[in-house]
């Protein structure tokens, strides 16, 4: 665990030195522009726009970082051979993977927390005060983070055996498919072919369901999110990450580093 921690910290350091966190500047500018101009172009939905825009930006920026850095996590170390000296040290390969995963999740967490602070600041500027219902925003942001964790796990898995370009393709495909899982389940009503419908139904439970984490609409309207959903989503993300990392470890442990 200590060794995975060392890898994680180094991964975080790499992200920081590669200026990944500069995206925060972009986010800050976006929030500022929205806060200043939204009142002038629309009436009565300033708060709604700030919330939806902020949450969407947090999600999109997080996804971009998760996918584009995630797919290089392992591949880059193999390609540049930085991994060779490391694996001769007393470190197991799954510890390395866990560290890489933890490092990027840490980066995303720091980034997301900073963006959340920016969103709150913009909200305060527009509304002049905060309400109790605004806490739903934190739940929505927490769900976004859970979603990003899952994306990182998938990207890491593909990074173990594929080039970054293909890994980006695979990861995005999984992400998009994961958004339509519910459609796949209802699709059985529309297709007369029972085999296809069962296949889709089975697949819909195997694929990661990213729609689970989407409560942006509820959060924008300040509707309460049940505590049970928070717990279940946490368990879901954790379990799914464990499964994906397990597969990644199995793949990576057998891999020859030529």
């Amino acid at each position: 665990m200590k060794r995975a921690g060392a890898v994680a910290l180094n991964t975080f350091r790499e992200a920081v030195r590669d200026r990944v966190l500069y995206n925060l500047v972009f986010f800050a500018l976006l929030m500022m522009a929205a806060a200043i101009f939204v009142g002038q172009i629309s009436i009565g939905i300033e708060e709604l726009v700030i919330k939806s825009l902020g949450l969407s930006a947090i999600s999109v920026i997080g996804l971009l970082i998760a996918v584009f850095i995630g797919v290089g996590l392992v591949y880059k170390e193999m390609d540049k051979r930085t991994l060779y000296a490391l694996l001769a040290k007393p470190v197991r390969r799954w510890e390395f993977l866990l560290g890489k995963f933890g490092g990027l999740v840490l980066t995303l967490a720091v980034n997301t927390v900073a963006m959340a602070a920016g969103l709150l600041a913009a909200l305060v500027y527009v509304k002049q005060h905060l309400e109790r219902t605004d806490t739903v925003l934190f739940v929505a942001i927490y769900f976004i983070l859970l979603k990003l964790m899952l994306v990182v796990a998938l990207a890491l898995l593909f990074s173990c055996f594929s080039t970054p370009l293909l890994a980006i393709l695979y990861t995005s495909a999984f992400y998009v498919a994961g958004l339509f899982v519910e459609e796949m389940r209802t699709f059985q009503f529309a297709t007369p072919n029972p085999a296809a419908s069962w296949l889709l139904r089975g697949l819909s439970y195997l694929l990661p369901n990213f729609e689970n984490f989407n409560v942006m609409a509820a959060a924008a309207h300040g509707r309460e999110i049940p505590g049970a959903l928070i717990l279940q989503n946490t368990a879901y993300a954790a379990l799914y990450c464990i499964i994906v990392l397990l597969i990644a470890a199995a793949v990576f442990s057998r891999r020859n580093l030529k």
Partner: protein, 298 residues
């Protein structure tokens, strides 16, 4: 000792356990989210024009996507016997705004909208409106008039307008000749069995969609049953004239030689006389359910 094989085995077991857990969790999450959403609708944006602007150069793809949503929405509602189709019309509007030339969306969409509950939304006037927009965007396509006449004839029972629609469609050079015939027939007779049968037969013969075909077949069968029952009732009247009493069984008509053999419905079940003395479907016939469904609808 840990061999690679036993490791693989352990991994497989863990994966099965893991995905079982995922499945269980998902069901819990589904339940929570179902409570959270009053109507899981996809109409965040109701403006087709805005959507069109936002879809960049991928508008046709987005239209196809929305059309799929329409089919899903309709299929889902029907399967769950949910009779509220209030999103159907806005979804169709979006789809056809995104791609005004998506003919299939007008044709099926108008059917979905027009058919009475529980098979459709029961809003034939919305179906007509959709078709009118379709005609405006695709003035060269005569089949819209066929569909329009169909809706006026069957759902709205407005035979003058039905005739006018058929007439209008028949003016197209590539339209089929029966359109003109129908225009005259409907204008003269209003609703008649032979017109109904003919119109459904047209649907049955021209559609490529198996579900539509099946629906048309059911309608044709029910119309056949209607015709059969009418004939049987006539025979029963004659039987009463001869013997002074109503027949209680169809077989009595065979015994006196009025029928060569026991008449059966399109599914092969013999007809019976109901308690009211009228000819009816056999209680075992699968068509009975359909008949009840369609009667309720009207």
């Amino acid at each position: 000792m840990i061999t690679p094989n036993s490791k693989t085995l352990v991994l497989l077991v863990l994966l099965v356990l893991g995905f079982t857990g995922v499945w269980r969790l998902q069901q819990g999450i589904d339940a929570q989210r179902a409570a959270l959403h009053e109507e899981r609708d996809e109409l965040v944006l109701r403006s087709g024009k805005l959507l069109k602007a936002m879809s960049l150069e991928y508008t046709p793809l987005l239209a196809d996507f929305y059309w799929t949503r329409v089919v899903q929405y309709y299929g889902d509602k029907r399967a769950r016997h949910d009779l509220h189709f209030e999103l159907l019309s806005p979804l169709l509007d979006l789809t056809t705004t995104l791609d005004p030339h998506l003919l299939v969306a007008y044709r099926f969409g108008s059917t979905f909208l027009s058919e009475p509950s529980p098979r459709g939304a029961g809003h034939p006037e919305q179906g007509i409106a959709l078709l009118e927009r379709g005609i405006q965007a695709n003035p060269e396509y005569w089949r819209f008039y066929q569909d329009m006449g169909f809706i006026y004839y069957f759902e709205l029972k407005d035979y003058a307008k039905a005739s006018a629609a058929f007439e209008k469609g028949s003016e197209y050079p590539d339209s089929q000749i029966w359109m003109k015939v129908m225009a005259a027939k409907v204008a003269a007779e209003g609703e008649s069995l032979s017109t109904s049968i003919f119109l459904w037969r047209q649907v049955y013969e021209t559609t490529k969609d198996p579900q539509v075909k099946e629906n048309a077949l059911t309608h044709l069968q029910l119309l056949g049953v209607q015709e059969d029952c009418k004939q049987l009732d006539k025979l029963a009247d004659e039987f009463q004239k001869r013997t002074g009493r109503r027949p209680t069984r169809v077989s009595e008509l065979v015994q006196v030689g009025m029928l060569p053999q026991l008449p059966v419905d399109p599914m092969g079940y013999p007809y019976v006389f109901g308690p009211d003395g009228k000819a009816a479907l056999n209680l075992n016939s699968p068509l009975l359910e359909q008949q009840l469904l369609h009667q309720n609808a009207k």
